[in-house]
């Protein structure tokens, strides 16, 4: 049972000091979770701390590989709006 951080992490360092299991470290291009250390914060906090503070949608996955903070859940930008804006910028 462990969470993971993927490459959309922007290296903001917010999660690292919060982890009760010292499972998070900067390695290579971005932060990573050591799956052997991560406890999903069980016994320490009600919610996994890294996923609670991470500002980047989709950067942290649960054990099943799903985004804990899916698109739109943190910024409030509806995904279709974001797609529309991106398409408009591309078209310029």
């Amino acid at each position: 049972m462990a969470l993971s951080i993927i490459e959309s992490c922007v290296n903001c360092y917010a999660c690292e000091p919060l982890c009760p299991s010292q499972a998070i470290s900067l390695s290579g291009q971005h932060f990573l979770i050591d799956g052997t250390k991560c406890t999903e914060c069980d016994g320490d906090y009600a919610d996994p701390q890294c996923a609670e503070i991470c500002p980047i949608e989709g950067a942290i996955l649960n054990a099943a590989g799903e985004a804990i903070n899916p698109l739109g859940s943190l910024t409030g930008i509806p995904p279709f709006k974001m797609a529309q804006a991106m398409a408009e910028i591309q078209a310029r």
């Binding site: 917010a14 000091p17 919610d47 609670e52 503070i53 409030g76 930008i77």
Partner: protein
């Protein structure tokens, strides 16, 4: 009568004020108690006059943030403190301290070190305070300041006081959780992400508590607000009243900058920023007897140099490594340079007092006001060429005197290099952007204006002028206003501009 130069209490533009009631206001600080004035006298961000002479720098040591603002994309730096879309090179506290000591020895005008991001300094307390401790130990003459969203502020007031941090900036956009819910989607509080008005309420309470705690201990507090049309524009008047009543020494209203490219909520959702006139109207409404920081340049979080200039490229990590710095000698040099600057400022003040005694109206009463843009590299004089300017300072002249309206930044200077001017279509767009940002101005005064932009400026109803090179800015603005009046210029209706 006393002419108000750079004065901010424009609530009474007709009468000016009788000498003695508002004191000398050339630094826009006339209303402040002496102790506060003394503290901000040399601070380039807070004193309107000092920013021409002194330098400040920011270091990027604090990457994490504990809230989300709708005008910020956390892929970039904190939008409260830098322009959107900027990414700073993150420094360790050690590297940052080295950089500060290097800059302070190379640029002796340096007086202030700020930590403002890329995230929230107090969401990274170890990194922020380690940097401050190092500087406090090795260069105690440098003033420390930090900016924060306020959420963690009450927890760190002791440390802020212990390190003699003398300026704290809190970004306060609202005092009502319902308004806050439209600005802050969430805050991270007590190990949980709290969304909506509930989260905003916590943030607001912490900001106000932090503000009060700092003021109780005599630490200067500036409040920043981002003006978001339709969200907090009217509300900011109440914010201003409250923070002023509590004792913040300055309230700085900055415009929202929102573009879809930035990927922020406001950018993508099409929230517009305020027009120049909306901004200056709100600043007027909030000003009252309080100083508004109209010369704020929304500098980058890792900017180096005088306001409006960035010499960051001279101080990259490898260049700093190669520098050999004698802290003692550098501090003595700074003391000497600062003494020289003060002597110069005293002389300027004395000259002005002499002149003020003989001052008459700049034009017959009833003459409409004119906005005049100037270009400067610092030192308080007209010493920048039109083609090299990436920033224009806009003043408003009226028969009773002149006042500072604010800086206007442009993305590109008209000329690319010292001798290279753009050609063809490119040149057109660059100049269009400049003309657009100066649309409310009747004249632009530079050290020099090239032939091509000269005719385009004229065509746009902006009189170019290169005759005041090396003159004091305020003299040049007054002179230019006189020239306009003599030429019978057609005044721009400054309120029609508001609609655009």
């Amino acid at each position: 009568m006393e002419l108000k130069v750079l004065g901010q209490d424009n609530a009474a533009p007709q009468g000016g004020c009788s000498s003695g009631t508002c004191g000398s206001s050339e630094d826009g600080m006339g209303h402040l108690p002496d102790a506060v004035r003394e503290k901000v006298h040399n601070h380039p961000c807070y004193s309107e006059e000092a920013h021409h002479f002194y330098a400040r720098m920011h270091v990027a040591v604090a990457p994490a943030c504990n809230i989300q603002c709708h005008y910020c994309n956390r892929k970039y730096d904190c939008a409260n403190e830098s322009r959107p879309g900027v990414v700073s090179e993150l420094l360790s506290p050690d590297q940052a301290a080295k950089k500060v000591l290097a800059v302070a020895s190379e640029i002796p005008q340096m007086t202030v070190l700020g930590v403002a991001g890329p995230g929230d300094p107090l969401a990274n307390p170890e990194r922020t305070f380690a940097t401050f401790r190092e500087i406090y130990a090795k260069a105690p003459d440098i003033k420390l300041c930090l900016s924060t969203n306020g959420l963690a502020l009450p927890d760190h007031v002791d440390e802020i006081e212990a390190l003699k941090v003398d300026h704290v900036t809190i970004t306060i956009n609202c005092v009502d959780p319902e308004v806050g819910a439209k600005i802050y989607p969430w805050v991270f509080w007590n190990n949980r992400r709290i969304k909506g008005a509930k989260g905003a309420k916590i943030l607001i309470e912490r900001q106000q508590k932090g503000l009060e705690m700092l003021l109780e201990r005599g630490i200067l507090v500036k409040v920043n607000s981002v003006l978001i049309p339709g969200v907090n524009d009217e509300h900011l008047k109440e914010v201003s009243r409250i923070v002023k009543a509590k004792g913040a020494f300055l309230h700085n209203v900055m415009p929202l900058i929102a573009e879809a490219e930035h990927g922020t909520f406001y950018g993508v959702m099409g929230q517009r920023g305020p027009s120049k006139q909306e901004l200056s109207d709100l600043q007027d409404a909030c000003a009252g007897d309080m100083n508004m920081m109209r010369h704020c340049r929304q500098c980058r979080a890792d900017a180096v140099g005088l306001l409006g200039e960035d010499r960051g490229q001279e101080f990259t990590l490898d260049k700093i490594e190669a520098m050999d710095i004698d802290y003692e000698a550098a501090m003595n040099k700074r003391a000497n340079v600062h003494a020289g600057i003060e002597a110069h400022r005293d002389a300027l003040r004395a000259e002005k007092e002499l002149a003020d005694g003989h001052e008459t109206l700049l034009a017959p009463l009833g003459t409409p006001p004119a906005r005049i843009a100037v270009t400067t590299k610092g030192g308080g004089v007209i010493n920048e060429h039109f083609g090299h300017a990436k920033e224009f300072l806009v003043y408003e002249a009226s028969p009773e005197g002149i006042r500072f309206i604010g800086p206007r930044k442009v993305e590109n200077a008209y000329c690319v290099g010292p001798d290279v001017c753009p050609d063809g279509a490119e040149k057109g767009t660059v100049l269009d952007a400049i003309l657009d940002s100066l649309s409310d101005c009747s004249a632009v005064v530079s050290a020099k204006v090239g032939i091509e932009p000269w005719s385009q400026l004229e065509a746009a109803g902006i009189t170019p002028n290169g005759a005041y090179a090396m003159d004091l800015i305020e003299d040049a603005v007054k002179g230019m206003y006189g020239d306009l009046v003599d030429q019978g210029w057609s005044a721009k209706d400054l309120h029609v501009q508001a609609a655009s």
